[in-house]
Amino acid sequence: MPRVTFPHMGESYRSFKMLLNDLGNDVVLPPRPSKRTLDHGVRYSPEFACFPLKILMGTYVETCRLGAEIIVTSGGVGPCRAGHYGQMHKKILQDIGFPVDVVVFEPPRFHPIDFLRNIQKLNPDRLSYRAIWDCIKRAWQKLSALDEAEKLTHVVRPRETVPGATTRAYRKALEWIDRSYTSKEISEAHAAALEAIKSVEQDPERKILKVGIVGEIYVLLEPASNLEIEETLGNLGVEVERSMFLTGWTKDNTGQETHEIITVKDAAMPYIPLCIGGHGRESVGHTVIYAKRGFDGVIQMAPFTCIPEIVARTILTSVSREYGIPVLTFFLDEQTGKAGMSTRLEAFVDLMKRKKWQEPGTGQAAVNI
């Protein structure tokens, strides 16, 4: 049985593990990225490569040591380095003595034959296309359940009355979803998970700020890479809406584009009329939409040296001015410290509070003394 692994992106591994197992692979689970992962990643990556390359590099070194032989990853769309990372990782890993193969999935919309060929590489049990399709459907169902549960925590956490209660309920719910297998079980676990998170005791009276999160996909989806920004904001009493989830992104890159992404591209049109790679255009489009929906602020998360996000950041300055919405940008890499981030987040939350409610502490009250 081939030993297969893949990148760690939030909780999505629970779904990928099931799918690859179903096709007859032995899955080596990627560990949650840690300091050790980063140490490996930084050691074997070019210094000015972006953060996702380094984290994945470290993850692969860890999983290769556990015996992984095939790495499954995704390609890229448009002019962004990440599209070459699969090949890059393969070369580096082979150089340092891990004879791995890397299977790169490009968007099937543009590369249908390649897609099917890749599927066959990961199908040692020789399942029929029909059977594979059934497995993919179940994996998709699980992925949706994971995304929905996570989305709900973003709404519940800022309102929780017992600190940490949402996170505890979420951890439990993840295990239920993880253990479910048949389509029926998954939908039951899905419902139970949402119910458990919803029933966390909340304070409906609490005044809540609403912040949209935009940026590059990996640093958005992997909490270990963004210093758990969503949880930190939730604890500061901020409801978060993230612009990207794995299910949404996959939909946009497999079959027809969804209505949502078309709206985002339209919203970005006056600023960025074409694809500049990565998620630069989406960052701008989502910020415009969040502003129109009356959000209190937007936070952009970008890997240090990420060109598409650097372009977006410069443009977000004018979006922020024209729509009157505060925007805060974080460039993340292995040097980013949690303390510096907390300081900026606290100040950003203060700024939004004052803008919204003109709370005392603006200096306004101080001046009147």
Binding site: R36, T314, A339, G340, T343, A347, K355, G363, A366
Partner: protein, 318 residues
């Protein structure tokens, strides 16, 4: 008389302010942290406690700066606030119609944009600390001139030398190169001031609408050369408040006062804590793959604060 205590424990300096309700400063202390925040804070509190007139009663206490949590648990602060908010509050207290705050401290620099007394935008240096106070400090000691003379030397220069200001280390190489070429010390120092300001405006100040009145605060505001360079680049007058180097402490004293008006009474332990012993320690938690680095502080042999955990495992239950 009732007064508020504000404490700002920063990378380079520890500042303590006692301000009464009318805004009068009764004590304003600026001492070097020297990498020992606990000792600096205790020493500072002792000095302030001794110098205060006996009729002053501390009604509220607040902490800010990178050491705010540490200082906060030591004195039992009513409010623990980030330095961006504290600086904005202090600036609008001293210059009520301020619209731009430039702040350069020991290891960070920030710009705060205010409109009608409200912060509307801010930025803080992220991936680079070139051109903050620590760098000027280092260069002064390398050139063997007191940092306090830096500004006057810069002002006496007629033609600043262009120094590469993007990276601290390269700026130093460039300065040495210019010295070996025979440029005068004054011109090099003036060039360094300009490089710092250029870097600040292109980096932290990028895309921000800088409108007058502009207030310049933080330890580096003492440097007349930097002030002059800002005025040249911005083409605007730059105001340096009298207490420019302790603004964070002033701001957080105000915020503490506001907080206590809401809560009804202060939690401040009192100046007697300067007689207690504090010690810190750290360890790596082995509970899960996160491997959090936990730091803790003891008052006597009781743990009063812990930081760095991503879960509730190390929370202190009172």
């Amino acid at each position: 008389m009732k007064a508020y205590l504000g404490i700002d424990v920063g990378s380079v300096s520890t500042n303590i302010v006692v301000q009464d309700q009318a805004g009068k400063i009764h004590a304003g202390l600026y001492i070097r942290t020297m990498g020992r925040p606990i000792e600096a804070l205790l020493k500072g509190l002792r000095q302030v406690g001794e110098s205060l007139p006996p009729d002053i009663e501390i009604e509220a206490a607040g902490t800010t700066g990178s050491g705010r949590y540490l200082a906060g648990v030591m004195v039992n602060a009513d409010v623990i606030k980030n330095e961006i908010t504290a600086h904005a509050v202090a600036a609008s207290l001293l210059v009520p119609d301020v619209r731009t705050v430039l702040e350069i401290g020991g290891q960070d620099s920030k710009i705060i944009i205010m409109r009608n007394g409200i912060v509307t935008d801010f930025a803080m240096n992220t991936v680079c600390a070139a051109g903050t106070g620590s760098f000027l400090d280092q260069q002064a000691s390398r050139l063997n001139i007191p940092i306090t003379d830096f500004g006057d030397l810069a002002l006496s220069s007629a033609s600043p030398v262009r120094i590469a200001g993007r990276c601290t280390v390269f700026a130093e190489s460039d300065m040495i190169h210019k010295q070996q070429m025979g440029h005068s010390l004054q011109d090099i120092i003036n060039g360094l001031c300009e490089a710092l300001v250029r870097n600040y405006l292109n980096n932290v100040g990028k895309g921000k609408e800088i409108l007058s009145p502009v207030v310049f605060q933080g330890g580096v505001a003492a440097n007349k050369g930097i002030k002059a360079a800002f005025e040249r680049f911005l083409n605007l007058p730059v105001i340096i408040p009298e207490y420019h180097n302790i603004m964070g402490a002033i701001g957080v004293a105000q915020l503490a006062g506001e907080e206590v008006r809401k809560t009804g009474g202060t939690k401040f332990k009192g100046f007697h804590i300067t007689g207690l012993t504090y010690k810190t320690g750290s360890f790596e938690c082995g509970g899960c793959p996160n491997g959090c680095e936990i730091a803790e502080i003891y008052e006597g042999d009781r743990v009063i604060g812990r930081w760095g955990a991503r879960c509730q495992r190390w929370d202190i239950i009172n």
